[in-house]
């Protein structure tokens, strides 16, 4: 039986460097699919999707809100051909009611231990409209290594440089951050994977550079320390979200291969300044994630924040405007106040303004968003700053003998497509 698994494309933000990373949701899902099922995976961001009658059953995995409309379009076409379509993934959960209008089935929650039943139901022509496991997360020890062999790996190279692979060591989050839906998606508890399972998966990965996609690595000190200690011998180099600010934790993180972290910069306080300094002291670079358009930001605040970012010598910065995704407090608050004016999900890309900001017009916030990108990268472009970060990791890899040279055979390709050679 052939299961066609699709990761829909989305429109990338104007003017930003495009990096297509190998998706994580589909490979985690694939690991939970019964072994006798043939999986044919298409990531529409790096290859064309051919919609035909060859699959027996179709799965659409969606992570971003900007994928849902394309996902629905694909499903509609397959269903016209008489194919059954099931949806899963983060943005399926965020947009479940609407997605049900385009689906034979939607899967809500986490897949481990649950897909045998789904495929049995499909075989019996008894697919349920909803598989709802949203309140019953699986035992974390059931999460095995993701099935990355469904990916066409050569498509995730840019001019011979391999992109990082995505990996997770925990799920859920104890916090309830204003723009974040993890509370709804992964539950309010922190659920770490057993360390031996994490190490087993890491050991099997042939990519030395990873992005640990956990919401935060600052939720359980002892687990963090145990994780980092166990990772040291693997000599991986990795990117992650926040790491706890304790010196002993940062020291172990650095030894375990912490390359750079995404750190939210929400004000110009000494707390933030010292946080960045502390990472740097341990040789960990920092990409600031800066959310613009919050109700406590005036135009002057945004300009001051950009100046501050330059002053604290962030290695990279990523600016976004608030996107009030469903199931976030941001969405609830703006909905209550009647401030959301655009409900086209394709516009929820964190680059377009879809609500009325408190202290300025939507148009002005859009201009300030552009100002922030332009100003931060005025003296040193984003590609150059990224190049500096890559140089740092290459030096460390050469030092510990894990460096893999750039692939010359695909140096003229970017994510599978030809790029002109620079003379």
């Amino acid at each position: 039986m052939k299961f066609k698994l699709i990761y829909p494309r989305w429109e990338k933000l104007d003017g930003q460097t495009i990096f297509n990373l190998p998706p994580h949701g589909p490979v985690v899902m694939a690991a939970a699919i019964p072994h006798n099922i043939e999986i044919d995976f298409t990531d529409e961001n790096v290859e064309d999707l051919i919609i035909d009658e060859s699959p027996d059953f179709v799965g659409i995995s969606m992570m971003l809100t900007t994928q849902v409309k394309r996902g629905w379009e694909i499903a509609d076409q397959y269903r016209k051909l008489g194919k059954k379509v099931i949806f899963g993934g983060i943005s399926t959960m965020l947009h479940a009611e609407e997605t049900m209008l385009h689906a034979d089935s939607v899967f809500l929650g986490e897949v481990e231990g649950r897909l045998d039943q789904v495929f049995q139901d499909f075989h019996k022509n008894d697919l349920k409209k909803i598989y709802n496991f949203i309140s019953t997360p699986p035992d974390m020890s059931l999460i095995g290594p993701a099935k990355r062999d469904i990916l066409k790996k050569d498509l995730y190279y840019h001019k011979g440089f391999r992109m990082v692979d995505l990996f997770h060591a925990s799920r859920g989050c104890i916090y309830d951050c204003y723009p974040c839906a993890v509370r709804y998606l992964g539950g309010r508890g922190f659920r770490p994977r057993p360390i031996d399972k994490v190490v087993e998966e890491l050991s099997q990965m042939d990519n030395n550079r990873l992005f640990i996609v956990d919401n935060s690595l600052a939720l359980d000190t002892q687990w963090e320390k145990d994780l980092f200690k166990a990772m040291i011998p693997l000599k991986k180099k990795w990117v992650s979200h926040t790491i706890e600010d304790k010196d002993e934790v940062l020291d172990l993180a650095a030894q375990a291969g912490a390359w750079y972290v995404y750190q939210a910069v929400f004000d110009t306080s000494d707390y933030i300044k010292n946080r960045i300094k502390q990472y740097h002291e341990y040789g960990i670079a920092v990409e600031g994630t800066i959310l613009l358009g919050l109700d406590n930001q005036t135009e002057d605040d945004i300009k001051r924040l950009v100046d501050f970012l330059l002053e604290i010598e962030l290695d990279l910065a990523e600016f976004t405007v608030l996107a009030p995704f469903p199931h976030t407090k941001a969405y609830s608050d703006l909905l209550k106040q009647g401030r959301i004016f655009d409900t086209d999900w394709n516009h929820y890309n964190a680059g377009k303004v879809v609500y009325h900001p408190k202290h300025m017009s939507a148009e002005r916030l859009g201009e300030l968003y552009q100002y922030a990108w332009d100003t931060f990268y005025q003296d040193e472009p984003q590609t150059m700053k990224m190049f500096n970060l890559i140089n740092k990791v290459v030096s460390r890899e050469i030092a510990d003998g894990t460096y893999t040279p750039r692939r010359r055979d695909i140096a003229d390709l970017s994510f599978g497509k030809k790029v002109p050679k620079l003379v």
């Binding site: 709802n132 309140s135 209550k336």
Partner: protein, 128 residues
């Protein structure tokens, strides 16, 4: 009845409900039977203590459920959403009150509309 040191004048018990996708959910609740014959219910978002759906996301079904449990009619029922001050560094978790009004569809409250209330106004409504 559960007790909690966080109970206050806007919340004197927990209310358990099945939220979206049947998620076990919980909010704070205060019910006042006013002198004018109307029943005022204040539903408090309790954030981390709520394992499921937030009050705002399930506002109409939650208000309907509370109204029916209190054996009230829609025109005798007043519903207020309360978010407590979490003393966060960020301003998004300050205390707020919203009066929620609904359309009535059969026996159910639907189409919530929120309007912000000051704490003084809420106190006045509690004493009416």
């Amino acid at each position: 009845m559960e007790t909690n040191p966080d109970f206050n004048k806007y919340m004197d018990r927990y209310f358990n409900f099945a939220g979206q996708w049947e998620s076990p959910s919980k909010c704070g609740l205060k019910v006042i039977h006013r002198k004018d014959g109307k029943t005022l219910a204040i539903a408090t978002e309790i954030y981390r203590q709520n394992p499921g759906t937030p009050v705002t996301e399930w506002c109409a079904p939650l208000a309907t459920l509370i109204m029916k449990e209190l054996d009230c009619l829609p025109d005798q029922f007043i519903f207020i959403e309360h978010t407590p001050d979490l003393r966060s560094k960020l301003a998004f978790y300050d205390e707020t009150f919203d009066l929620v009004t609904f359309d009535v569809d059969g026996h159910n409250l639907v189409n919530p509309k929120w309007s912000r209330l000051s704490p003084d106004l809420v106190d006045g409504m509690m004493e009416a």
